[in-house]
Each structure stands twice: as C-alpha cells, then as structure tokens.
C-alpha cells in the first residue's frame, strides 16, 4: 500500500521511496522520510489533494502524486512514533 491508502490517525512505516524520481526522493530524505521511518496520516486537503502527515515530531504536506509513490506498511495499534 502507499500513503494515499492511509486514513486519518493511522500510523505506518515507510518501506520504499523507489517509485519516486531521484530529485523528489532526495528532498524527502533530507526532510526525514527515510525507509523504516514511522509516519502518521493527519488529513487530506478539503479538495482531496495534497495530503498531510506527521513524522519526526513535525508535520509535512505533499501532493497526492508523491504520496502514491511512497510505499508504506501499516503499523498495528496505530500508536504514533
């Protein structure tokens, strides 16, 4: 699954950024979106795009197009990292 499949308050960890172009992947890694990192889904924008997540104690929003290219795996219990 990818970030677009997540629902508000769900927590997942990133399994791969490989479907992204190198430039975007690099930028996201600089922002802390590394493989294995936990993220919490906050919400989708009122018009459906972009999405808003929390990671490493701060919040980040990005296009659904990017979200769709980031593979994640849901974490049981849904507790925030």
């Amino acid at each position: 699954m990818n970030i677009n499949d997540m629902k508000p308050d769900e927590t997942a960890y990133i399994t791969s950024l490989d479907s992204l172009d190198q430039k975007t992947a690099k930028k996201l890694r600089d922002l802390g979106m590394t493989t294995g990192q936990h993220i919490k889904f906050i919400q989708r924008a009122p018009l459906g795009d972009p999405v808003w997540v929390e990671l490493r104690g701060y919040q980040l929003a990005f296009s659904a197009k990017i979200a769709g290219a980031i593979s994640v795996e849901l974490q049981r219990g849904g507790e925030s990292s």
């Binding site: 430039k23 992947a25 919400q43 795009d49 972009p50 104690g57 929003a61 197009k65």
Partner: protein, 657 residues
C-alpha cells in the same frame, strides 16, 4: 578585526527573529560574487567587537540543488566566516539537526542556538543542552529569540569559540558513521585534489559532496555513478545518528501532548467543509480592514493632515517669507501636491502589511497554500505559488523573492511572470482616487473588481504560458506545516515597519524627484522660460503618446505623462496627475470628472492594474529569473495585455451601460 558570522537554519526556525534581535534591524544588502542571490548582512557590536551577521536563506540541507541551498554551499566554500551560527527549532529537533550535522562537518566552528526554548517547555519537553553539545561536537545554547532570552549567553559562547575553536569538533558526527560508509569516505577523501578545495573546509565534508555529478570526473572509475545510492546511504545514516542523539537529550513529560492547541485549531480551520469558507472569510476580512470604513477613516485623516494642514502652514510661511510664484508653486503644487497625494494612503497600506505579516507569522499562510493547492493546479500552478501570490498584494518585489521557495525552476519562472498582475499596494492610491471621484456610491465594489480582474488575468496568463514554460512537467506540492504560533508583536511590528518605511522613503525620493521634475517640465518650454502647461516640454512628450489611449477615452497628454512616470513607481501616476491637474482652487477629482467619462476612468484603472510593473519589480525579476529575455518578454506582454483588456472593458461598459 571585524568578526563574520554566517547565520544558518531551517525555514520556520525563528532565524529572522534572531537576526532582528541581534542586529536591531541594522542591515545592508550584500551582493556576493559567486552567488546568484543577494544576502542580508546585519551589523552590530558586542563588547566593542564589530560583528557582521550574514543571513543565509532558510534551508533544510546543504547538499541539494535549489537556489538557496546552493547559496549556503557557495558561501561556505568561497568566504571565510569565523563562526557559523545555526538556529534550531527545539520543538522540532530531529529534522533541524540534519542541517546542523552538515554544518559541523564543514570544519568551520559552529554554535547551535536552541531556539523556542519557551515553546518547548510549554509542550512539556526538556532538552539537555550540555549533553547535546558533547554529542554534536558543537556548543549549544538555549534561547528564545522572540522573548530575548539567552541572547547574552549565546554571544558569550560565540566569542569563546572564536578565541578557542577547539571547543568545536568537526569529526564528532563523522566518527559515528557506520564502518562501511567511513571506509568508503576515506577512499574518496584520498582522491581529493588539495588545490581545488579551500583550506578552511574539512576534507570529509568535501568527500560527502564529491559523489555528486559535477565532481564525478575526479573520482576513480569504481566510485563513479554511485551518487544516488551514496546520497541515500548518507541521509539515512545521518538520521540514524541524530535519532540516537535526540533519544539521549530529550526528556518528555508524559502528561502534556504536543501540538495540542495547534491541532484543535486545524480541526476547524482545515476541516473538510469549513476550510474553504474560512479561507474566503479571512481574505475578505483583510480587504475589508484595509479598504473598509477603518482604512477609509484613517485615509481621510491623513488627507486632511497633508492637503489642509501642512499645505496651509507651508503656504502661509512662504507668503510671509516673500517667496515668488515659482518657488511657492514648486513647493506647494510640486512637492506637497505630489508627495502628499501618495502619502495619504500610508494607513491603508500599513493595515494591509500588518495583515500579511500576521498571516505569515501565525502559520496560516502554509494552511492557505495547502487548501488552495488543488484549485491552483487547475491553472497549472501549485499551492507553493500561493504565498508569493498573496505577498504580491503587498509589493511585487518581496513576492518575486519569495518565489525562491519553489524549487522547480520552471514553476518559479511561471509564478514570477504572473505576480505583477496581483494588484500591489502602490496601485491602490490610483484606484482610490478614481473610485472616489467617479464611483462614490460603489467604491469598494469597483476596487474589489479590479483586484479580482488582476487575479483572473494572472491565472489566465498561467494557463496561456504554462505549456510553453513548463512543457509537460506538472508542479508538485511539498511544504512543511509549522504549528500555529502566537504573534510576537515586536517581530510583526518590525516586518511591517520595514515595508512602511520603504513606502515612505520612496515617497521622499522617487516620488519627490518625479514630482519636482514633472512640475518643472510642465512649467517651462524648451528654451527654459516659464510658460503655461500647454506649451511645456512635458506636454509635447505627452501629446506624442496620448493617441495610443484615445480609443479608451483617456488620450490626454497629462494622463500619458502620468502613466510614463508610473513606470518609476505606480503611485507616481497619482502624484503626477496631482501636480499637473490639481490646484488650490480645484481638487484633482473635480478636474478628472470634468475630463473623462466613468467608463474611461474604469478603463484607465484597468490599464494601471495590468501594465508593465515598476522598475524595482523588473529589476527583481531580472535578478531572480536570471533571464533578460523573459524579463523583456514579460514587460511587453503586460503592456499588450493592459492595452487590450482596457480596450475591451471600455467598450463592454459602453455597450451595456
């Protein structure tokens, strides 16, 4: 010896607040050779030591390709700052330390300012600064830039590091990299040609960078082409080390949940159903405050001050001193008439600047970008363009500078091209005068329609130019959502003051000069004899151009001249008309209404809204786009669009009304 400090930090870390706190706003703009952008340099003294503080734009990492990040790198490589001051948002330590580690590796001594210490305590977090200093190899000081807490200790620490650079250890982080990465790094470092690297830069820092494409040629065969994998490995390793450090230095009080208030506000403000109505309400409120009853009342007070009180005193004084008609004409009609016509709008602009500053500092601007992204994508833009666009209502110059936040070069260019269509504050005096003279019953509606028209033309321009500029690329949105912050009044005040002062100083320089020149040229002929305005030099110039505007019914030489001076600064249109038309007996509005029809007046306002922006905007555009071609194209495009739209609207009004 002057001390030079490079000021680094993530966006939203409070870097600007600290800059203002340290320098008291005493800054100059420096053009650095080797960098593409200009940097602000602040000047201050600490214990008789003169210090230059160089403000590097907010960045998340030193090693990527956006223009700001290149500035950071170029600055480190080409200049010799004595110390780097790294501002860190303590409530967001993990991500902020990413840049810190890169700075420490550079080999230049780093002092870390753990900012927002107060907000951190409110969130029930505690950071062990002593332990953090030890783990990073750089001294850390807790501060609150907004409250002025810890500044003294920060400066003391900086001076201590200058005296004794060994307080910093540039290898502390590198030594924690995994053995595989370190082995490879040493391999790369061995290949570095010492001649090509400045002496003050640590070889490990260069080694980490060397895997990027432009260094590849210098690497042995077996290491080439692995840049991406290397960068990924370094990023992940960096965050792994930071994670370990943060675990050791942060203590969380379990009772208080983080960002609680911020989340509650967002639950309403970014709610699926409420977000758009609230957004529209906020925009309307700003407009209403600035141009509604409050702004208008202040405006009238200023008008009374300039046109009645000051002009009256000066006139009485001049008569008492026995000044001739030339001198009193120059001072009363030229200087006070011209500068005063512009200055009366200062209160309204101050309100507008205040609202924009509040939006920016509170964190709502990022939400607005988030909410509008999808809408803007219909026009080929993204929410990232929203902030520059909204800043354009204040002034196009900072708006064009704000485009640096867009890291897609083409999207940046496209946004720059449409910004001048967002009606900047300098155009407001023009609307206000014409709307009051011609559309007294529906001033707000008229002014509002002009703002809307500007937005519409901007979006249409984006649709038209996008395929040419962006080709098939689609803009993407990627933005940090900072928590809401309580406005810190002295920060907001200083941001408003900078812009208000800019307006006043323009009124005292460009507008003053234009008013004097216009008055002189309109009162003398080619042989420099004082004549009636109809025989003046200016009228000859104006009469040559005026026919262009005849199809819209405002083909008068005075208006043509006013539009030319508007190229210097748009508010000069009004100051020039004030000098050319108004006199003590007949106010400008009376002259205008006797001269042109309401339809022409509206068409003229449309022309002023859309035509070629002022020199300052074009200069900023040229500098930020790096392309004279696009700047010239934009100039001509806007001139053409202005004439065409003005023409169409003039005839539409005549057709239907």
């Amino acid at each position: 010896m002057k001390l030079e400090i490079g000021l680094f930090g993530n966006p939203n870390c409070g870097k600007t607040t600290l800059f203002n706190e340290l320098t008291g706003g005493n800054r100059s703009v420096g053009n650095w050779t080797g960098t593409t952008v200009t940097l602000d340099i602040g000047h201050f003294h600490y214990k008789k030591q003169a210090i230059d503080l160089v403000d590097i734009p907010g960045i998340y990492s030193l090693f990527t390709h956006t223009p700001e990040q290149l500035t950071g790198c170029e600055y480190l490589l080409n200049y010799h700052p004595d110390v780097l001051l790294n501002v860190v948002d303590s409530t967001n330590l993990e991500r902020n330390l990413y840049l810190t580690t890169q700075l420490i590796e550079s080999g230049i001594p780093v002092v870390v300012a753990l900012n927002m210490h107060d907000a951190m305590q409110e969130q029930g977090l505690f950071v062990d600064a002593k332990k953090l200093s030890e783990l990073l190899g750089a001294p850390c000081v807790k501060i609150s830039a907004a409250k002025g807490y810890g500044i003294e200790k920060l400066l003391e620490t900086i001076m201590a590091v200058v005296k004794n650079p060994s307080l910093c250890d540039s290898d502390r982080i590198v030594n924690q990299f995994s053995p595989e990465i370190r082995e490879k790094l040493e391999q790369i470092v061995a290949q570095i040609d010492d001649e090509s690297v400045p002496e003050h830069i640590d070889r490990h820092w260069v080694g980490i960078q060397m895997m990027k494409e432009h260094w590849q040629g210098e690497l042995p065969e077996e290491l080439r082409g692995q840049g991406d994998a290397w960068e990924t490995a370094i990023s992940e390793e960096r965050y792994r080390i930071i994670g370990q450090i943060v675990d050791q230095v942060i203590k969380v009080s379990p009772l208080i949940r983080r960002r609680q208030l911020s989340e509650k506000i967002d639950a309403v403000v970014c709610n699926r159903y409420l977000a758009l109505p609230i957004f529209c309400l906020v925009m309307f409120l700003i407009f209403y405050l600035a141009f509604g009853p409050l702004g208008n009342a202040l405006n009238n007070a200023f008008e009374y001050l300039f046109n009645d009180l000051i002009a009256g005193w000066v006139s009485a004084g001049l008569t008492a001193a026995g000044a001739g008609p030339f001198l009193s004409g120059l001072i009363i009609d030229g200087i006070i008439g011209g500068v005063g016509a512009v200055m009366v709008f200062l209160p309204q602009l101050a309100i507008l600047f205040l609202c924009l500053a509040l939006l920016e500092f509170s964190g709502y601007m990022a939400r607005a970008a988030f909410i509008t992204d999808k809408l803007l994508s219909k026009f080929g833009l993204s929410g990232m363009s929203f902030i520059p666009m909204i800043l354009g209502f204040g002034c196009s110059v900072p708006a064009i500078m704000a485009c640096r936040a867009l890291d897609n070069k083409k999207e940046r260019l496209l946004t720059m091209m449409i910004i001048p269509f967002f009606s900047c504050s300098a155009r407001m005096p023009v609307y206000a005068v014409f709307a009051a003279a011609f559309f007294a019953d529906m001033q707000y509606l008229v002014i509002f329609s002009l703002y809307l028209l500007g937005i519409l033309v901007a979006l249409l321009t984006s649709v038209i130019l996008r395929p040419k500029i962006m080709q098939k690329e689609k803009p993407v949105f990627l933005m940090e959502m900072p928590p809401y912050r309580k406005p810190v009044w002295h920060c907001i005040w200083s941001s408003v003051w900078v812009r208000v002062w800019d307006f006043i100083s323009r009124a005292g320089t460009i507008i003053l000069l234009a008013s004097v020149v216009v008055w002189l040229l309109s009162n003398v002929n080619i042989s420099f004899q004082m004549v009636g305005t109809d025989a003046s030099i200016l009228s000859s110039i104006g009469k040559f151009i005026a026919p262009i505007f005849s199809p819209m019914g405002f083909g008068f030489w005075q208006i043509a001249v006013a539009l030319i001076t508007g190229f210097m600064a748009k508010e000069a249109v009004i100051s020039t008309l004030g000098v050319l038309y108004a006199s003590a007996a007949v106010p400008l509005s009376a002259v205008l209404t006797s001269l042109i029809s309401p339809a022409s007046a509206f068409a003229l306002m449309v022309f002023v809204l859309l035509y070629t922006p002022c020199v300052a905007t074009l200069t900023a555009m040229r500098r930020e786009s790096g392309s004279a071609k696009y700047t010239l194209f934009m100039m001509l495009y806007q001139l053409g669009v202005a004439w065409l739209v003005s023409f169409i609207i003039y005839h539409l009004i005549n057709l239907f009304i």
